[in-house]
C-alpha cells in the first residue's frame, strides 16, 4: 500500500524525563520515528519535556516543543499546529497515557486529529487487564487466574479463589510501580492498599502466581495489510517474579524447541490481531511452566518499548523506524531492510550470535532501599553484549557494566549467605551462583533455590570450571617474573578456550596473579586477536552493508596446500588475522585464517567512546554529546566510529555513526578495536567518566586523544594539581585538603573547620559525597568511602553553607573561549548540581558577579589549554566567588544549554577537537537569550519506599526536564509540572522548617496568604510565623498525637508541602511527612530556596498564562 497522502502533519509525543522504567530507549525510538516520518515527506510536530534528547534537537522535527506533557499543554499545541494525526506509540507509557487522555477528553476529535499506529480501542484492550484477559480467553489463550479489584473488600474476596502466593499489579503505572508478591494475608493487604493508591484508576490486578516459571518475550510487528512478523524472541535468565527490566535476558530464546517456539509465535500473532494494533510493534510477554510446558500470556505493550529497543539492537531490525513507516500506510514488503539492502523488511531476523542484556542498578545511591528484585523495576540502566555463545556474551555483559567486575569473581562468604542470596534475588545473584558452583553446590540445588533454568546454570558452571583450569597455572608464577615468563604462563590452547568463553584479559590475569597487560602481550605473542563479526539480520545468508560489529574469538581455518585444483577461487577474507588456537595438524605451507569482517576503510576516521550503561550521574546527557560528536565529525567528512554497549541509546543505532562497535568500554575491548581500525584519534571527552577513565591508559599505549590533553584533565581532576592551578590564577577555592587515611582526613577537617564536604576523587554524580558536621560522622564516612574508590584519595572541602551555586559551560579552541551558558542553581550549594534545579540565564545574580564568573572561566580554560568543552562550578557567598570544580570535558548540562540557547555546544566542540577554530565555525561570542529556561531534576523516590526525599551532595536524580518561558516564574512552574510536581494555584500549604530557614519563610508565607492560600504549619514554625503577625493554622507532628499532618496529607487536604530539616533526629521524625507526600502525589519541596522559587512561580502563574513556543521559534534568526 502506498503511504497515506491524506495526512501531512503528524504529532509525536516523547516520553519526558528519564525515570526508572522509561529511559533513553524512547529517545532512540522517537528519533527514529522523526527521521522516518520526515524521510517520507511528513511534517513532524514533537513534544517532549526532556531537553537531553536527540529527538528534541531542532533539526529532528519541523516544530519541537520542550513543554510539559500534560493534556492542557498538548491541547494548546494541537490548536496551534493543527496536526492531522497523532502517533502515540513512540513515547512509552507516558505518551500512550497522554494519547488516551486526549482522546477521552475529546480533544483529538475537536481538532480532527487521528490516532495512528494504535487506536484508542486497541490501546485500552491491551492496557486494561480485564479487557485483555477477556480478549485472550476469546482466542483460546491461557492467562493466569486473576481478578481485578477496586477495593480492599473486593481484594479479600478475590484472593479466595486465586490463592497464595499472589501477584499484585496496579493498573496504569509505569514499569509496574507498586506491584509485588504477597505470600500471606498481611503482605497481601499491605500491597493491595498501596497498589490501589498508586494506580491512577484505583485498580489492582491480583493474579495467580507464576513465580519461577520461564519468562519469554516476543517482539511482534504488524502492517496495514495484516502481515505479521516476529522480530526477536527473548528468554529471561531470571524467571517470573523479577521484572523483565531487572532480569538478565538473552536473545534469542534458548530452551524452547521449535514446536514450543512456534506455538508462542502463533499465539503472539493471534494476540496482536485480536487486540487490533493496526500497525507497528508490540511486545508480548509469556510465562511457561518448566514442569509441563503450560504457557500463559502475561501482558502486551501495544507500542515500542525498552524490549523493542533491545530487540532492534539485538537483531539489526529497526523496530521504531519501521513502525513509524507502517503507521503512515506503508507495508512491510515495501520497506527495504537497511542492512542487506536487497531484502524487504517483511521477514524475521535470524541471528547467529547470542545477546545478553544485563541490568545496571544504583542501590549504592539508596542504601535504605530494599535491593531485593521483585516485579517492580528498580534498575536504572542496562548493557547489552553480543557474543557467539551465551558464555561469551554473558562475560562481555558483565565487564560492560562498569562495576569493577570483569568476570564471575569469587565472593568470600558463608554457604548460608550464599543460599539466602540465591533464594532472595538481588543485583549480584549471578556472582553468588558462580560461588555456589565453586563451592560444590549441585545444579539441581541451585535451580531449586533460584528457579533459573539449568541450561543457564550449566553454562555458568562451564565458566567456573574454565577458571579453575586457568587458576591451576597460577602456582609457580611469581608476580615480578610474570612479564619475562609470559610465553609460558598458560598454554595457547587453554588461552584460546578461555577467550572463546568470553574471559577478559583482566580476569585471566587475576586468576593467574599477573597484570592484565601480561595477558595482552601473551595474546599478541600467540597471534591471538579478537575478530569482528557483523550483525546482519540473516545469519550470513546475504551480504550485509552496514558495519554493525561485535567482537569474538574464533578458531582458525586454512586452505590445504595439497593438489589445489582450482575448482573454486581461493578464499580471501576481508581482513585475515593469522593465529589463533591450536593448529598442529595443518600442512606446513597453509595459512591460518581467522575470519574478521571489520573490513576497515582507509578514510580519515575518529573513534568516539560512548558512556556505557545509564546510571545515576551518567545518563542520556552524555550519550547526547557523543551523538553530536558523531554528527559534527560526519559533517567534516570524517568516518565516525562509535563504541558503546548501551542498547537504549541513539549512539548505538547502527545508522548514527558510520561504523558501530557494540562492545564493552574496557581498555582491552577498546584497544582491540583501535588495532583493527587505526583511527587518527579518539574522543573521550563526551561520554562522561567511562571513556575518561580510559584516557590515560590509552595514551600510554600510544593512542592519540583528541581535544584537551589527558594531562590538562588530570590537572583539573587531581586536587593537589588543581590547587596549584587556582593559586597560579589567583582564584579562590573553599579551603580544602587531600587525605590518604582516616587520620589525615580528621586533621584536615579540624584545620578547615566543620562542616566539611567529603568525597573520593575521580567520581561522577557525587558518588559517596557527604557533608559532615563532626569527627564521628567523618570516621564513619571514611569506612565507606575508601571502599567506594580504593585507588584514589579522599577530598575534604570546607562546606559553604547557603552559598549560591553556579554552573558554567564554555567552549574553547585553545585560543578563544566562548561562554555557552551561565546557570544559577535554585537549591543552595551542597546539594548535588545534578539534583538541583537551575536557571539560564541567572535569575538573581548581579551583573558584576556574572561578569567576574565569566572572566574566571576564561582564565581557567586558557590556562588548561582546553580544546573542546569545559564546565566550571562556582559558589557565591557574600559576594565572594569560590571555584568548586573544573571539568574540562562535556558536562551534564551541555544538552540543556544547547536547547536553551540554540548553540549546539557539543557539535562545535567536536569540530574544534579535530582542529577547527571557533572563528572558522562562526562562533564569535556568547549568545544572549530573551527567555528563561529552567532545568529541574527528576527523582526515583517513588521506586524506593523507605528512602528519604531530602536532597544532599550525593546525586539521586535519574533525569531532567526543562521549562522554558518568558519569565522565571512561568519557566520554573513549567519545569515543576514536567517533573510531576505541579505547583498548585490555590488551596492549603503545609510548612515545617528548620530554625535556620525560619527568617526567610516570613516573606514566603506572607505572599502565599496574599495569593489566597491558607497555610498550616507545625508548632515551632507556626509560632515563629505568628510572632511575625502571620495567620497560620497549627497541626500536630506525627509524634504529637492525632490528627497529625500525615492524616491531613492522606485526606488530600494539603496541596503543597514545604519541609526543610537539619539533623538526623529531626529528619527521622519528619520522614513520614515526606514519604506520604510522595506516596499521595502531593507536590513538595525540601529546600527553602525551592520554596521561594515555587512562590515566585505561583505569583507569576496566577497573573499570566503560560506560553507555548517551539524551539525553532525561540532560536529563529540566530
Amino acid at each position: 500500500m502506498p503511504k497515506r497522502t491524506d495526512i501531512k502533519k503528524i504529532l509525536l509525543i516523547g516520553s519526558g524525563p528519564i525515570i526508572i522504567g522509561q529511559a533513553c530507549e524512547f529517545d532512540y525510538s522517537g528519533t527514529q520515528a522523526c527521521k522516518a516520518l520526515r524521510e517520507e515527506g511528513y511534517k513532524v510536530v514533537l513534544v517532549n519535556s526532556n531537553p537531553a534528547t536527540i529527538m528534541t534537537d531542532p533539526e529532528m522535527a519541523d516544530a519541537t516543543y520542550i513543554e510539559p506533557l500534560t493534556a492542557d499543554i498538548l491541547e494548546m499545541i494541537i490548536k496551534k499546529e493543527q496536526p492531522d494525526a497523532l502517533l502515540p506509540t513512540m513515547g512509552g507509557q507516558t505518551a500512550l497515557n497522554l494519547a488516551v487522555e486526549l482522546a477521552e477528553k475529546r480533544i483529538l476529535d475537536r481538532y480532527n486529529v487521528e490516532l495512528i499506529g494504535a487506536k484508542l480501542d486497541a490501546i485500552k484492550k491491551a492496557e486494561d487487564r480485564e479487557l485483555f484477559k477477556e480478549a485472550m480467553t476469546k482466542i483460546g489463550l491461557d492467562v493466569p487466574k486473576s481478578a481485578y479489584v477496586g477495593s480492599l473488600k473486593e481484594g479479600l474476596e478475590a484472593i479466595g479463589h486465586i490463592g497464595f502466593p499472589a501477584i499484585l499489579r496496579p493498573s496504569f503505572t509505569l514499569g509496574g510501580t507498586g506491584g509485588g508478591v504477597a505470600y500471606n494475608m498481611e503482605e497481601y493487604k499491605e500491597l493491595l492498599e498501596r497498589g490501589l493508591k498508586l494506580s491512577p484508576v484505583h485498580q489492582v490486578l491480583v493474579e495467580e502466581s507464576v513465580l519461577g516459571w520461564k519468562e519469554y518475550e516476543l517482539e511482534v510487528m504488524r502492517d496495514g495489510k495484516d502481515n505479521v512478523v516476529i522480530i526477536c524472541s527473548i528468554e529471561n535468565f531470571d524467571p517470573m517474579g523479577i521484572h523483565t527490566g531487572d532480569s538478565i535476558t538473552v536473545a534469542p530464546a534458548q530452551t524452547l524447541t521449535d514446536k514450543e517456539y512456534q506455538r508462542m509465535r502463533d499465539a503472539a500473532i493471534a494476540i496482536i490481531r485480536e487486540i487490533g494494533v493496526d500497525t507497528g510493534g508490540s511486545n508480548i510477554q509469556f510465562a511457561v511452566n518448566p514442569k509441563d510446558g503450560r504457557m500463559v500470556v502475561i501482558e502486551m505493550n501495544p507500542r515500542v518499548s525498552r524490549s523493542s529497543a533491545l530487540a532492534s539492537k539485538a537483531t539489526g531490525f529497526p523496530i521504531a523506524k519501521i513502525a513509524a513507516k507502517l503507521a503512515v500506510g506503508l507495508t512491510l514488503d515495501e520497506i527495504p531492510n537497511d542492512i542487506t539492502r536487497e531484502t524487504p523488511a517483511s521477514f524475521e531476523p535470524t541471528i547467529d550470535y547470542v545477546v545478553t542484556k544485563f541490568p545496571r542498578f544504583a542501590f549504592e545511591k539508596f542504601p535504605e532501599a530494599d535491593p531485593t528484585l521483585t516485579t517492580q523495576m528498580k534498575s536504572v540502566g542496562e548493557v547489552m553484549s553480543i557474543g557467539r555463545t551465551f558464555k561469551e556474551s554473558l562475560q562481555k555483559a558483565i565487564r560492560s557494566l562498569e562495576i569493577s567486575s570483569y568476570g564471575l569473581e569469587n565472593i568470600d562468604v558463608d554457604t548460608s549467605v550464599i543460599k539466602t542470596r540465591l533464594k532472595t534475588p538481588g543485583p549480584e545473584r549471578i556472582w553468588y551462583i558462580s560461588q555456589a558452583i565453586r563451592e560444590g553446590m549441585g545444579i539441581q540445588e541451585i535451580r531449586e533455590l533460584t528457579w533459573i533454568d539449568p541450561w543457564f546454570l550449566y553454562n555458568i558452571k562451564q565458566i567456573v570450571d574454565m577458571e579453575e583450569k586457568i587458576r591451576s597455572y597460577a602456582k609457580g608464577i611469581k608476580k615480578k617474573e610474570s612479564l619475562s615468563l609470559a610465553p609460558y604462563l598458560i598454554p595457547k590452547e587453554l588461552l584460546m578456550d578461555a577467550k572463546w568463553y568470553g574471559f577478559s584479559d583482566r580476569r585471566i590475569a587475576e586468576l593467574l596473579n599477573v597484570e592484565e597487560a601480561d595477558i595482552r602481550h601473551l595474546r599478541r605473542k600467540y597471534k591471538m586477536y579478537a575478530v569482528y563479526k557483523i550483525v546482519d539480520t540473516c545469519g550470513a545468508e546475504f551480504a550485509a552493508y552496514t558495519p554493525y560489529l561485535y567482537s569474538t574469538y574464533e578458531k582458525p581455518f586454512y586452505k590445504s596446500a595439497v593438489n589445489s585444483q582450482q575448482s573454486t577461487p581461493p578464499l580471501k577474507p576481508p581482513l585475515a588475522t593469522g593465529g589463533g588456537g591450536g593448529g598442529e595438524l595443518r600442512t606446513p605451507n597453509s595459512e591460518l585464517i581467522v575470519e574478521c569482517e571489520s573490513n576497515p576503510t582507509g578514510r580519515k576516521k575518529v573513534v568516539i567512546l560512548g558512556s556505557g550503561p545509564n546510571r545515576i550521574g551518567q545518563g542520556i546527557e552524555f550519550d547526547y554529546c557523543c551523538v553530536h560528536a558523531v554528527f559534527a565529525l560526519k559533517e567534516l567528512g570524517y568516518e565516525t566510529i562509535m563504541v558503546n554497549c548501551n542498547p537504549e541509546t541513539v549512539s548505538t543505532d547502527y545508522d548514527t555513526a558510520d561504523r558501530l562497535y557494540f562492545e564493552p568500554l574496557t581498555i582491552e575491548d577498546v584497544l582491540n578495536i583501535i588495532e583493527v581500525e587505526k583511527p587518527e584519534g579518539l574522543i573521550v571527552q563526551f561520554g562522561g567518566q567511562t571513556p575518561l577513565k580510559l584516557a590515560v591508559p590509552l595514551e600510554r599505549e600510544g593512542i592519540k586523544i583528541l581535544g584537551t590533553s589527558p594531562d590538562s584533565i588530570d590537572r583539573a581532576e587531581d586536587r593537589r594539581r588543581f590547587k596549584e592551578l587556582l593559586h597560579k590564577l589567583n582564584l579562590k577555592q573553599a579551603e580544602s585538603d587531600t587525605a590518604m587515611s582516616v587520620e589525615e582526613a580528621i586533621c584536615a577537617a579540624e584545620r578547615i573547620g566543620y562542616p566539611v564536604m567529603i568525597r573520593p576523587s575521580y567520581v561522577l554524580g557525587g558518588r559517596a559525597m557527604e557533608i559532615v558536621y563532626d569527627g564521628k560522622s567523618l570516621r564513619e564516612y571514611m569506612k565507606r568511602a575508601v571502599k567506594a574508590s580504593p585507588e584514589h584519595p579522599v577530598l575534604v572541602d570546607k562546606y559553604l553553607e547557603d552559598a549560591i551555586e553556579i554552573d558554567v559551560d564554555a567552549i574553547s579552541d585553545g585560543m578563544d573561549v566562548i561562554i555557552g551558558g551561565v546557570m544559577e542553581h535554585i537549591e543552595e550549594a551542597g546539594i548535588h548540581s545534578g539534583d538541583s534545579a537551575c536557571s539560564l540565564p541567572p535569575y538573581s545574580l548581579e551583573k558584576e558577579i556574572i561578569d567576574e564568573i565569566k572572566r574566571q572561566t576564561r582564565a581557567l580554560a586558557k590556562e588548561l589549554t582546553v580544546v573542546g568543552l569545559m564546565n566550571v562550578q562556582f559558589a557565591v557567598k557574600n559576594h565572594d566567588i569560590y571555584i568548586l570544580e573544573v571539568n574540562p570535558r562535556a558536562s551534564r548540562t551541555v544538552p540543556f544549554v544547547g536547547k536553551a540557547t540554540g548553540v549546539p555546544l557539543a557539535k562545535i566542540a567536536a569540530k574544534v577537537m579535530v582542529g577547527k577554530t571557533l572563528k572558522e565555525l562562526g562562533l564569535t561570542g556568547e549568545r544572549h537569550i530573551q527567555h528563561i529556561a529552567v532545568k529541574e531534576a527528576v527523582f526515583p523516590f517513588d521506586r524506593f519506599p523507605g528512602v528519604d526525599t531530602i536532597l544532599g551532595p550525593e546525586m539521586k536524580s535519574t533525569g531532567e526536564v526543562m521549562g522554558i518561558d518568558k519569565d522565571f516564574g512561568r519557566a520554573f512552574g513549567k519545569s515543576q509540572t514536567s517533573c510531576g510536581n505541579r505547583i498548585p494555584l490555590s488551596g492549603k500549604i503545609f510548612i515545617s522548617l528548620k530554625d535556620k530557614d525560619k527568617p526567610l519563610s516570613v516573606s514566603i508565607v506572607k505572599k502565599l496568604l496574599e495569593l489566597g492560600f491558607s497555610v498550616i504549619a507545625t508548632r515551632g514554625t507556626a509560632l515563629y510565623l505568628k510572632d511575625h503577625g502571620l495567620d497560620v493554622e497549627v497541626v500536630n507532628k506525627v509524634t504529637e498525637g492525632r490528627p497529625h499532618i500525615v492524616d491531613f496529607i492522606k485526606n488530600k487536604e494539603i496541596d503543597f508541602v514545604i519541609n526543610t530539616v537539619s539533623g538526623a533526629q529531626a529528619q527521622k521524625d519528619s520522614f513520614s511527612i515526606r514519604q506520604s507526600a510522595l506516596q499521595y502525589g502531593i507536590p513538595f519541596t525540601t529546600t527553602i530556596s525551592g520554596a521561594i522559587a515555587a512562590v515566585n512561580a505561583i505569583e507569576m502563574l496566577k497573573k499570566k498564562q503560560v506560553n507555548i513556543k517551539s524551539i525553532q521559534k525561540y532560536h529563529k534568526g540566530k
Partner: protein, 396 residues
C-alpha cells in the same frame, strides 16, 4: 559492587574442554576447519549446506530431504533442549549425513527432553558431528563459493587424504536419493500435529474425511500430520508406486511429497506424475513441486547455495500477503518454462525466485517451500486447507 575477588580453590573441574576428540571438516575446495567431535566417531561425506533456523535442529536432522547432505547450523548453540520423541520428521533417526555446529551443549533442558543428549542421539544413529567450527565463516564461504561436498572426520586427521576422499566422491547432483529414503511399504497415517494439550485443542472432527495418497519421496511427518489436521484420510505409498495402482485406490487427491536432492534423476516419479495429471487433484511440496514442474515439461535449475531456513518471506500473489516460510531446497522450477500451463502463485521476496504455482485449468497446486513447517513458522498451513477446498470444488 560488593564482590571482592578473593581467591579460593574449588573442586577439580569435571570436564576438560580442550581435550575432546579432535575432528576435521574438509571441503572439496581444500578449506579445512578444525573442531571437536560429537555424536558418532568416524567419517562422513555429503554436500555441505547451511540452515539459518534458530530452533528445530531435531526436525532438521530427521528431515529426509537432507539425505546426502551435511548440515551446518548458523545458530551457534545447539543441543540446548536435547531431543524428544515427538519432534521428528521421519522414523528411524536422523537422515543428514553429518552435523556441523559452533558450540554443542551437552546439558539439555526442556520439559519434553528424553533421557540422553543430542550427542547420544547422534551416536545411537551413527551420525558424525563436529563442533567448534566458525560456522559463520563457513556459511559466508558457502554463500560466496556455492554449496560443495565436504567430509567430517573424527579419527583420521590427515587433511590431504581427507581432501582426496571428498574429491573422489561423485557428489549428489544427478543422483537419485529418493530411493534411499522412501518407505518400503505403503502405510496409513492418522496422527495430527503436535499440540501442547491434546484434549483441549483437538482438530474439529471432520465427518467428511477426504482420502489423500501421499507419494513418499522422503516425506516429512509434518506434512502427514497437517493433512490429518486438515481433515484427510492419509495413505502413504512408496515413491515407485505406479500411477495406475494409485488411481485404482481412487483417492480424492494426491500429494507429491518433499524429498532429497536433484529432481531430474527421479525419472519414475516424473513418469508417474505425468499419468496422474488431469486425473486427480494434486498438491506438490518441494521436491514434489519440482517433479510436477518436470512432469509438465518444464525445467528446473540449481540455486547457488539453496534456501535453508525458517525466515524467508513469501508473497501470496493473489492476496499480496506475506507469509514467513520454512525453506529447504537447492533446486527451483523455472515457471516460465511451463509456457502458460500454470500461473505463479507465490514468490520469494528475498531473491524473487518461484515459490508456488497453480495449474490454470486443472486442480493442481504446488509450492517450493514447506507449508508443514517443522521446523519453522506455521504461516502457510492454510495451503493444506486450500488443497482440501480444491478437492471439494473438483468433486463437488
Amino acid at each position: 559492587m560488593a564482590v571482592n575477588p578473593v581467591r579460593k580453590f574449588g573442586p577439580v573441574p569435571l570436564e576438560n574442554f580442550s581435550n575432546g576428540v579432535k575432528a576435521l571438516l574438509v571441503l572439496s575446495d581444500g578449506t579445512v576447519f578444525e573442531g571437536k567431535n560429537f555424536g558418532a566417531e568416524g567419517k562422513t561425506i555429503g554436500e555441505v549446506v547451511f540452515n539459518t533456523s534458530m530452533t528445530g535442529y531435531q526436525e532438521i536432522l530427521t528431515d529426509p530431504s537432507y539425505k546426502g547432505q551435511i548440515v551446518a547450523m548458523t545458530y551457534p548453540q545447539i543441543g540446548n533442549y536435547g531431543v524428544n520423541a515427538e519432534d521428528i520428521e521421519s522414523l528411524g533417526g536422523p537422515k543428514v549425513e553429518g552435523f556441523i555446529v559452533k558450540e554443542y551443549l551437552d546439558f539439555p533442558s526442556n520439559w519434553r527432553a528424553m533421557r540422553g543428549s543430542l550427542s547420544d542421539y547422534l551416536k545411537e544413529y551413527q551420525i558424525v558431528g563436529i563442533e567448534g567450527v566458525d560456522t559463520r565463516a563457513l556459511t559466508r564461504h558457502l554463500r560466496d563459493t556455492g554449496s560443495q561436498m565436504g567430509i567430517i572426520s573424527a579419527k583420521d586427521l590427515n587433511p590431504q587424504s581427507l581432501l582426496e576422499k571428498v574429491r573422489k566422491h561423485p557428489g549428489i547432483v544427478g543422483i537419485d536419493l529418493v530411493k534411499e529414503v522412501t518407505t518400503k511399504e505403503a502405510y496409513p497415517w492418522n496422527e495430527g500435529c503436535w499440540k501442547w494439550h491434546p484434549d483441549s485443542q483437538l482438530p474439529t472432527p471432520n465427518s467428511q474425511l477426504k482420502r489423500v495418497i501421499v507419494y513418499d519421496f522422503g516425506v516429512k511427518l509434518s506434512i502427514l500430520r497437517n493433512l490429518v489436521d486438515a481433515g484427510f484420510d492419509v495413505y502413504v505409498v512408496p515413491a515407485k508406486t505406479p500411477a495406475e495402482e494409485v488411481l485404482d485406490m481412487n483417492p480424492d487427491g494426491i500429494l507429491l511429497s518433499n524429498g532429497p536432492g536433484d529432481p531430474e534423476p527421479v525419472t519414475y516419479a516424473i513418469k508417474n506424475t505425468k499419468k496422474l495429471i488431469g486425473k486427480k487433484p494434486i498438491f506438490g511440496i518441494c521436491l514434489g513441486h519440482q517433479i510436477l514442474g518436470l512432469a509438465m515439461g518444464g525445467r528446473t535449475y540449481k540455486l547457488k547455495f539453496g534456501h535453508h531456513g525458517g525466515n524467508h518471506p513469501v508473497m501470496d500473489l493473489k492476496t499480496n500477503e506475506v507469509e514467513i516460510t520454512s525453506q529447504n531446497h537447492n533446486f527451483c522450477v523455472e515457471v516460465a518454462s511451463l509456457k502458460g500451463q500454470v500461473e505463479l502463485t507465490h514468490k520469494n521476496l528475498y531473491d524473487g525466485t518461484e515459490e508456488g504455482m497453480r495449474h490454470v485449468e486443472l486442480p493442481i497446486l504446488s509450492v517450493q517451500y514447506h507449508p508443514e513447517a517443522g521446523p519453522g513458522p506455521n504461516d502457510a498451513t492454510y495451503l493444506f486447507k486450500r488443497f482440501r477446498e480444491l478437492i471439494e470444488k473438483t468433486h463437488g
